[in-house]
């Protein structure tokens, strides 16, 4: 299918064509009948200039609007976006009109990333603590042992 830029150009050309067809030379000569009778060639040349000048001005205006709005680039990029969505049949999401709601989803991917980061560091911390806890328990046992040893030695001496 033709892209948006082609359709846009074709539609404007058609508009111009039909406008010129509607404002035909017959119609023009008919309106300026008295002048036409006096100067038919002049009338023709004035009409031709009118048509070509009108077409030039309108084409220039369209080009200016396209340049100002960067329309060609936008049309092509929109064509691509539409092409990508061609398998998506149901109506797509649209802004709800409630900014807080709409911004929420934009946050979600980052919150999910944050959540998995927190899960990871928590797991690491728990693992680390588990190891340290083991050595604390071992340390406590060792101390208890030492205290018993000392107790035994003390008793022996006593």
């Amino acid at each position: 299918a033709p892209g948006r830029a082609q359709v846009f150009a074709a539609v404007v050309d058609t508009f111009l064509e039909k406008l010129v067809t509607a404002g035909s030379y017959q119609r023009f000569a008919n309106c300026y009948r008295s002048f036409y009778k006096l100067q038919p060639e002049m009338t023709r040349s004035i009409y031709d200039q009118l048509v070509s000048q009108l077409q030039t001005s309108i084409k220039e205006e369209i080009q200016e609007v396209k340049d100002e709005g960067n329309l060609d680039m936008l049309f092509n990029s929109l064509d691509k976006i539409v092409e990508e969505a061609k398998d998506h049949k149901e109506p797509a999401w649209r802004p709800s009109g409630i900014p807080e709601e709409d911004v929420r989803s934009a946050m979600v991917p980052y919150l999910l990333k944050h959540r998995s980061y927190l899960r990871k560091v928590l797991k690491e911390k728990e693992e680390e603590n588990r190891k340290v806890a083991e050595s604390v328990l071992a340390g406590r046992e060792r101390i208890a042992e030492l205290q018993q040893l000392i107790q035994a030695r003390k008793l022996a001496w006593q």
Partner: protein
């Protein structure tokens, strides 16, 4: 009315990114 529409649409396009930037900075700071 037209300006309002364009202004609203522009905010819809740009502000989530801006808000995200702050949110990401906050999360990064928290992680650090």
């Amino acid at each position: 009315f037209d300006e309002l529409i364009v202004e609203t649409a522009t905010k819809r396009k740009q502000w989530p990114k801006k808000i995200l930037m702050h949110a990401i900075q906050t999360m990064k700071a928290e992680q650090e």
